[in-house]
């Protein structure tokens, strides 16, 4: 059973202290730990985000599906060992479950890469095309913009690319990204800032 994630918050204006709820997924996680069939709610909630992360990393529809499947099955079978570690500084909307889930996804992606022995060069080559699965509403100019953004992000090196995808596509906080990448929040902020500079140069480059 997971360790309770309630923290005492001392309020000078109040008598004693009160308890706050730190992980927004706590109720869903506890329900799934008590009855594995309830895991489906967490699966539906994070399916698209995990798939996005895997797809941006692997650039292959089937590989992304495979990683997504492995991630959720591993999360389900290991849910009993999951421990909440949310801190007050993580904010009200923090989810340590989400960080844990994406750490599993990150490992699954690394394992997938090792298995397929795919090299960075081939990834970059494949990255020049926007995925066919992208359903963009709007005109051709919008598609061109999306393609340019996709290519610019794809050219970023490892953790810069991951940080940008997690921040802009999966809309995670700096604290969550820091937890997933195993870096400090300050390091993630600098990583994103530098990545934005690189993308800005790339998008302004007429030869690209």
């Amino acid at each position: 059973m997971a360790r309770p994630a309630f923290w005492k918050v001392d309020r000078p204006e109040e008598e004693g202290s009160r308890l706050i709820h730190l992980d927004r997924d706590r109720a869903l996680v506890e329900a799934a730990q008590a009855d594995p069939a309830r895991f489906e709610a967490l699966y539906r909630k994070y399916l698209a985000q995990v798939f996005n992360y895997a797809f941006y990393e692997l650039r292959d529809h089937h590989d992304a599906e495979d990683v997504t499947e492995r991630t959720f099955l591993a999360a389900l079978t290991n849910l009993g060992r999951f421990e909440e570690r949310a801190r007050p500084v993580d904010g009200d909307g923090a989810s340590t479950f989400k960080v844990w889930l994406f750490q599993i996804a990150r490992n699954a992606i690394a394992e997938r890469r090792r298995r397929t022995q795919r090299h960075r060069e081939t990834v970059l080559e494949a990255a020049t095309n926007v995925p066919a699965t992208v359903d963009l509403e709007g005109d051709a100019a919008r598609n061109d913009d999306a393609a340019a953004a996709w290519r610019a992000v794809s050219r970023l090196p490892g953790d810069r690319r991951r940080a940008i995808v997690l921040r802009f596509v999966d809309e995670m906080t700096t604290a969550e990204i820091a937890g997933i990448l195993g870096r400090s929040e300050g390091a993630v902020r600098v990583l994103i800032h530098r990545a934005l500079r690189s993308v800005a140069r790339d998008l302004d480059d007429p030869t690209r």
Partner: protein
């Protein structure tokens, strides 16, 4: 705000300003509003790039078929987990000692549980053997002292008694 920037280099301060800008930009994007964030604004190129990525980077969703197939697989695994948990709750699970030969990780202090299992087998065998011996001796004594029932048996005993040792 000024306190936040004390003791940081220019790069960290720029990164912090960008981070705060992204917070409000992505929150506005999530709400579906295009209103530009207020507060500290990062350099023009960073700002326009951030706005462009927030607007243009494709968000993907797996196919409905994949989603439902994986949901079914997850439900199946969950059912197995629940079933095995229920089976385990019928009684305490007693860990069985390994039946394979000794390995390198075996403790050298004689604390291997297999030695505990070996002793009762030897003692039991000796007791069984002794018990069988006692029963056998009693049976032979009873047979020798029992009067012979048939003429053939009497003849055999007579011959046995008269035979020189």
């Amino acid at each position: 705000m000024t306190d936040t920037f004390v003791g940081r280099d220019a790069n960290e301060i720029e990164a912090l300003v960008t981070d705060r800008y992204l917070e409000t930009l992505l929150a506005a994007h999530a709400r579906g509003t295009d209103r530009s964030p207020t507060g500290a604004i990062p350099a023009g190129a960073i700002r326009s790039t951030a706005e462009r990525l927030a607007r243009d980077l494709p968000r993907l969703h797996p196919s409905f078929r994949f989603e439902e197939a994986l949901a079914a697989r997850i439900a199946d695994v969950a059912w197995r987990m629940r079933t095995s948990a229920a089976a385990g709750s019928d009684g305490p699970v007693v860990p069985l000692p390994a039946l394979a030969g000794p390995d390198e990780s075996e403790p050298a202090d004689g604390s291997d549980p297999r030695t505990v299992f070996g002793r009762p087998l030897i003692i039991g065998g000796a007791l069984t053997s002794a018990a069988l011996s006692l029963v056998g001796a009693a049976y032979v004594a009873w047979r020798l002292n029992r009067p012979a029932v048939g003429p053939m048996a009497r003849a055999v005993r007579t011959v046995a008694r008269t035979r020189p040792v």
